[in-house]
């Protein structure tokens, strides 16, 4: 499992945790299709940290603090220099030990290619844990964490809403549909995707902000190893033909109509 020397302190393994963080257009940004129709006009966009990624980072930092044994948190991002710098600064200011920036200026839309870029450039780090946000608010495929886990030979889990580090393994409480949950136990190394709301995120302290400058950021030139197997053909505006259907009349008639809608059109009830 581990090709490196495993350190122990306080009877706990000293770990290396990677947090994949993405810079994405903020919710309030105007999203306009650019002239190629294959991407958006980035000039009117404000890039910010993907929300579930920031929860993932917080979870990693809390684990680091709890173990208090020199466990390292590395914030990793990929993309263009302009958009991603604030993501790394934010991560370092909050307490990550160092950063890795895989520079790649293309707008990559194939989850598998993205995962391979990460895998090629991170495999020598031998991370014990990879945390990622559940999905990014731009592409929203939600696959990166799991793909990377498989490529690096890790065990995986998604929709983590609670974590518990134990000797040599991590327990993850997964959120299931309709209010159900399940605890799974994964041996290290593991890749876990984290759901928003798992914790209360910290704000960078002044010391953190000023100390971030002194922390190491490794810049790697990321080259795609293969031709992507899927990509965007064209972006388009989803049609919003909102036609309002009026329902009036006597109470029984209205109720009958509503039952029909609920049962047959919307399939809310059977």
């Amino acid at each position: 499992m581990l090709d490196r020397v495993v350190g122990f302190k306080n009877n706990t393994i000293i770990m290396k945790i990677a947090v994949l963080t993405k810079a994405i257009p903020s919710y309030e940004s105007s999203i306009r299709i650019d002239s190629t129709s294959k991407w958006i006009d980035e000039s009117v966009v404000n890039f910010t940290v993907n929300e579930s990624d920031s929860y993932a980072l917080e979870e990693a930092l809390q684990i680091k603090e709890k173990l208090d044994n020199g466990t390292e948190v590395v914030v990793v991002t990929m993309g263009s220099q302009d958009n991603t710098s604030k993501v790394l600064k934010d991560g370092l200011a909050k307490g990550a030990d160092r950063a890795i920036f895989i520079q790649n200026e293309d707008s990559n839309t194939d989850p598998l290619s993205i995962a391979k870029l990460f895998s090629d450039n991170l495999k020598d780090e031998n991370f014990d844990l990879v945390f990622s946000g559940l999905q990014s608010d731009d592409l929203g495929s939600g696959q990166t964490g799991v793909l990377l886990g498989e490529l690096l030979g890790m065990s995986t889990a998604t929709l983590g809403i609670e974590t518990d580090i134990q000797e040599g393994k991590i327990k993850v409480k997964r959120e299931l549909e309709s209010g159900w949950f399940q605890w799974v136990t994964l041996p290290f190394p593991a890749s876990v995707s984290i759901q928003s709301g798992i914790n209360e995120r910290r704000y960078p302290s002044l010391k953190g902000i000023m100390g971030a400058k002194r922390k190491e950021t490794k810049v790697i030139n990321g080259q795609l190893s293969d031709i992507p197997k899927q990509n965007f053909m064209n972006l388009f505006m989803p049609k919003t033909e909102k036609s309002t259907e009026k329902i009036e009349g006597d109470v029984d008639g209205i109720v009958a109509k509503l039952m029909d809608i609920l049962k047959n059109k919307l399939r809310i009830v059977s």
Binding site: S155, T156, L186, F232, L235, E245, I247, V255, L258
Partner: protein, 323 residues
């Protein structure tokens, strides 16, 4: 061929899987391919029974003691083996939490693309074009996949297809797939699923929301709406005045200063539709609004505008639902 995989949800075929069958049948017919349905892992045999009258070429069973409960390790290994053996052109599932958990493993294992959360399929000649939402559903995109890829994995968003449209007619054969698994393949372990009592509800996770506004007029009428919500399997929410008056706890509030929700159905009762409320729910996929006032702003964004007296409609509707 097209391979559709059925997912188990507490003993039954997951409704998303039924929709996936419809998707599979549709693709198969449009592309002139055959459809196979795979029942694998947890409760596989029971799923096979339940799917026995779905129209397909065959219903494949893949069972093994080591995947008698779901695990990402186990399911991804089994499915990968099935794909290697059968070489389906497309593998289809519904975009459920389980699919998100293990299908990407298959994608990486076999180096094949996985197009997830598809909202619609169109055809460019004989090539299917898959559309999915991006940028918080502000835009959509058509996806192009590598034509040389032997297999492409697909998952469809809920309600992209309707389970009502399943073609019936049964299947020809029921081959059994030899599952090969050993303990090295499954590294993770899981505990039984459980539910939690909801203290402080996350409305954003609710599929159906019944929301109540000032039109309810009195705190005494809240239980009536709560019964409706229960009958619909919905979470109850409200606009701000109801919370301000203490009729419902504040975590039930939907709006600019409450929760922003986009459930499958937002059923509003006695809400006028002030902008501070509307910004919290206009992303809902379907909106039904009941209000006495024809001019109520909520009707501008509603799919169904019910103009009537909620005091009469709500109890009757609840009664019908309970039947």
């Amino acid at each position: 061929m097209i391979l559709v995989i059925l997912e188990n949800q507490r003993g039954n075929i997951h409704v998303f899987s039924k929709e996936a069958v419809v998707a599979g049948q549709s693709l198969a017919s449009k592309l002139g391919m055959e459809l196979s349905i795979l029942c694998m892992g947890e409760n596989a045999n029971s799923l096979k029974e339940q799917a026995s009258d779905y129209k397909a070429k065959n219903l494949i069973l893949a069972e093994h003691e080591m995947v008698s409960t779901y695990s990402a390790d186990g399911y991804s290994k089994v499915l990968s083996d099935v794909i290697k053996d059968l070489s389906p052109k497309y593998v289809i599932m519904g975009h459920s939490y389980m699919v998100r958990d293990f299908l990407p493993r298959v994608s990486a294992k076999l180096d094949i693309p996985f197009v997830s959360d598809i909202i619609s399929v169109t055809y460019d000649g004989d090539k299917p074009v898959f559309a999915r939402q991006v940028f918080n559903a502000k835009l959509a995109t058509n996806i192009q996949t590598d034509p040389n890829s032997s297999t492409t994995l697909l998952s469809f968003q809920s309600a992209a297809f309707s389970s009502d449209d399943i073609e019936l007619g049964g299947s020809d054969a029921a081959p059994v797939f030899e599952v090969n698994l050993n303990s090295d393949d499954i590294k993770s372990s899981s505990e039984p699923e459980f539910q939690e009592s909801s203290a402080g509800v996350d409305l954003t996770a609710a599929n159906v929301i019944v929301s109540v506004g000032r039109g309810i007029e009195s705190q005494d009428n809240i239980p009536m709406v709560e019964s409706l919500a229960e009958a619909m399997g919905a979470e109850i929410a409200s606009s701000r005045p109801v919370v301000d008056m203490g009729w419902l706890p504040s975590y039930r509030q939907v709006g600019s200063s409450g929760q922003v929700v986009s459930p499958n159905l937002y059923f509003s009762v006695g809400i006028s539709g002030a902008i501070q409320h509307v910004v919290g729910m206009k992303g809902s996929k379907n909106i039904i609004a009941i209000n006495k006032d024809e001019e109520a702003p909520i009707f501008e964004i509603a799919d169904y505008a019910v103009i009537g007296d909620l005091m009469e409609i709500v109890p009757k509707l609840t009664e019908e639902l309970k039947k």
